[in-house]
């Protein structure tokens, strides 16, 4: 291939062809189509998962929630519940599906509790594989799980055995983002200590959590720098220590989401109080990458294993 480079200005100057407009054409089509994203939340009951999801997307995904008592919980097995919400912002439509996993970690013996979850993830891969291999591919629905928030309890000293087992079983199937829940039970120092402990244990057990992308070597310097800055602004905070709230409290004349204690108000969107904003920003600025990694890594692994097995 012959490489021809043009230095051109964005106008009808002599050398301008106009295919630099191609990203705009893609943009227009993408906006028309809208986006789909599936987020799974996993963690023991009472860690604030639902509240956090509501806070993240400013929705009320769980309006009439029924919270079962302990006796009931003994009988329950892990369920999979999906809710879909359409969010529109500045002309961009997002179809967000949140997959909840009530019952996880509740049983006295939680030995099998993540099998259901693994099955659900595999089923979505299976369904996509089936659709992709079929005759009518015009409207394939992508229900694959693009990201999994794993909630770590702030009450322990690090990861629990169940946490380790779950993440080891799922890191090859889904992008795992570990989250320390109910972070307002910890002082800042305790938080740092817990984060460090969790990261050490993750590395000790060879668990692969979602990594923010690095810039490719062949990209231009400006783009590489942007990627580096982006990565540097989030990586030191992982795992994100977050607080969620469904309540609006008035602080300095403004209504904000927070938790009112006798000793003060914890503000959800205050970066000095917790990593909520970082988590949300990281998620929305990496939706594209999360989907890509799901498609190119997790799904392709599933697919090649499946095809090898059936010999097709």
């Amino acid at each position: 291939y012959i490489q021809l480079l043009f230095s051109c200005q964005f106008s009808d100057s002599a050398g301008y062809v106009g295919f630099a407009n191609l990203p705009n054409q893609v943009h227009r089509k993408s906006v028309k189509k809208g986006f789909e994203f599936t987020l799974m939340v996993v963690g023991e009951s009472g860690l604030g998962k639902s509240t956090l999801i509501n806070s993240l997307f400013l929705t009320d995904l769980y309006p009439e929630r029924y919270i079962p008592g302990a006796a009931e919980k003994i009988e329950r097995t892990v369920q999979i519940e999906a809710s879909t919400v359409e969010i529109e912002e500045r002309g961009v439509k997002l179809r967000l599906t949140v997959v909840d996993t009530p019952g996880y970690g509740d049983a006295i013996n939680s030995q099998d509790c993540f099998k259901t979850i693994i099955q659900y993830i595999d089923n979505q891969f299976e369904r996509y594989l089936h659709d992709e291999s079929g005759l009518n591919r015009r409207h394939i629905i992508d229900n694959r799980v693009h990201c999994c928030f794993y909630f770590i309890s702030p009450f322990g000293h690090g990861l629990k055995p169940l946490d380790v087992e779950f993440m080891k079983a799922l890191h090859g199937k889904v992008n795992i983002v570990p989250v320390i829940a109910k972070a307002d039970t910890l002082t800042l120092k305790e938080r740092e200590r817990l984060k460090r402990r969790v990261l050490d244990e993750i590395s000790e057990h060879g668990i692969r959590i979602y990594q923010l992308p690095d810039a490719d070597s062949d990209e231009d310097e400006e783009f590489k720098e942007q990627t580096r800055v982006l990565k540097a602004s989030f990586t030191p905070n992982i795992p994100f220590a977050v607080i969620g709230s469904n309540q609006l409290i008035e602080v300095k004349g403004k209504k904000i989401r927070g938790r009112l204690y006798p000793w003060g108000v914890v503000e959800v969107e205050n970066p000095e109080h917790n990593d909520f904003l970082k988590l949300r920003t990281m998620l929305v600025t990496h939706m594209q990458d999360l989907q890509e990694v799901t498609q190119d890594l997790h799904y392709e692994n599933f697919r090649s294993e499946r095809l090898k097995r059936t010999g097709k």
Binding site: Y1, I2, L4, F6, C8, F10, A14, G15, V17, G18, F19, A20, N21, L22, P23, Q25, V26, H27, K29, V31, K32, L56, F57, L58, T59, D60, T77, V78, Q79, I80, E81, T84, V85, E86, I87, E89, L94, R95, T97, Q119, Y120, N123, S133, R138, N143, D216, E269, R280, V284, H286, M287, Q288, E292, D296, L297, E300, N301, L307, K308, K312
Partner: protein, 350 residues
């Protein structure tokens, strides 16, 4: 295998939403409607920016084929379109150079960059088309080439360890050059377009349009459009693929008024009114290629490159390729063609 119970209140809604008879999904998926309670800014619109960055990063493939008798200015036109020597002109004046006995397919690739966007452009020339005394079936090698590219893509797609980005050699656009006789289409034109409009996006262009006056041009275009319609030839943009009203309105205008584009190509520059322009110099004046009052080259360029480039690729992928694929699967009893995982195909995904 155990699956979680489905909430009963959502089941009814679910069956409304899914028209196809298929195994009931494990989880209820009922969208909860547009959220009106946004008390702040989430940042979802940044997805657009992410997609844009991604497309800029991965670059684009674009494959354009030119078909028409020799001497109609195909290579010159492509060079004019992309403002560079991407197609080598056949030295038609050299009597030593033989006209190929059969249609040849020559693909030449270039990487061109503009405004940070990299395009891998491949121009596929078809010398020999329509040049013989007996031109029967001369479109067959072309149809074969187009289908071979679909086959190549299909084979890679069904591979066990397939490439992350499947190389796309499929023909996205075929410019068909109509000779400016001023009378009508020739039988060969009709035959070619009838066969090929079913497998590739055809854009008919009237070549060397500087041989016609404005009135002759308008009449000829009308006649050609009528002939195409009467013969059921669906050129790009095809009516049945208009996605919404906006597309339909825009495309109707192009189909009914502008096409086929009457073009003039040139790779020579002249000074006109203090500006350097591409053109053809004659004793009676300079024909300015990019001047809309002289010819419709600028319309063709804007259409193919500035507005419909992405759509040409999408129609090729979503319609033509899928048609080919469906036929192959059907012929093979519903199964994809057998692939063997060879050493050269295997790529680690980790």
């Amino acid at each position: 295998p155990h699956t979680g119970p489905v909430e009963s209140k959502n089941e009814a809604a679910m069956s409304e939403l899914v028209p196809e008879p298929r195994q009931k999904p494990v989880v209820p998926m009922k969208p909860m409607g547009i959220n009106a309670n946004l008390l702040g800014y989430i940042g979802i619109d940044t997805i657009i920016e992410q997609m844009r960055k991604k497309t800029m990063k991965t670059g684009f493939d674009f494959n354009i084929m030119v078909v028409g008798q020799s001497g109609l200015g195909k290579s010159t036109l492509v060079n004019t379109l992309f403002k560079s020597q991407v197609s080598r002109k056949s030295s038609g004046w050299n009597r030593e150079e033989k006209i190929p006995k059969t249609v040849e397919i020559k693909a030449i690739g270039h990487v061109i960059e503009e405004g940070g966007v990299k395009m891998k452009l491949t121009v596929i020339d078809t010398p020999g088309f329509g040049d013989q005394i007996n031109n029967e079936n001369c479109w067959e090698p072309i149809e074969k080439y187009i289908n071979e590219q679909y086959e190549k893509f299909l084979k890679e797609e069904v591979n066990i360890a397939r490439k992350k980005r499947i190389p796309d050699t499929r023909v996205h656009c075929c410019l068909y050059f109509i000779s400016p006789t001023g009378h009508s289409l020739r039988p060969l034109d009709l035959e070619f377009m009838k066969h090929l409009s079913k497998v590739v996006n055809i854009i008919p262009v009237i070549a060397k349009a500087d041989t016609m006056t404005l009135e002759e041009k308008t009449e000829f275009k009308q006649r050609v459009r009528k002939e195409l319609e009467v013969n059921g030839i669906e050129f790009y943009p095809q009516k049945e693929f208009d996605e919404d009203l906006e597309d339909k309105t825009e495309n109707d205008k192009i189909r009914q008024e502008s096409m086929p584009f009457a073009v003039v190509g040139s790779d020579k520059e002249y000074q006109v009114n203090g500006k350097r322009v591409l053109g053809r110099k004659t004793p009676w004046g300079i024909i300015e290629v990019e001047n809309l009052t002289h010819c419709e080259f600028a319309l063709l360029r804007d259409f193919v490159i500035r507005t419909h480039l992405q759509d040409l690729k999408e129609v090729t992928h979503n319609i033509h390729y899928e048609t080919y694929r469906a036929k192959r699967l059907n012929d093979n009893g519903g199964l994809p063609p057998m692939t063997v995982e060879t050493e050269e195909n295997h790529e680690s995904n980790l």
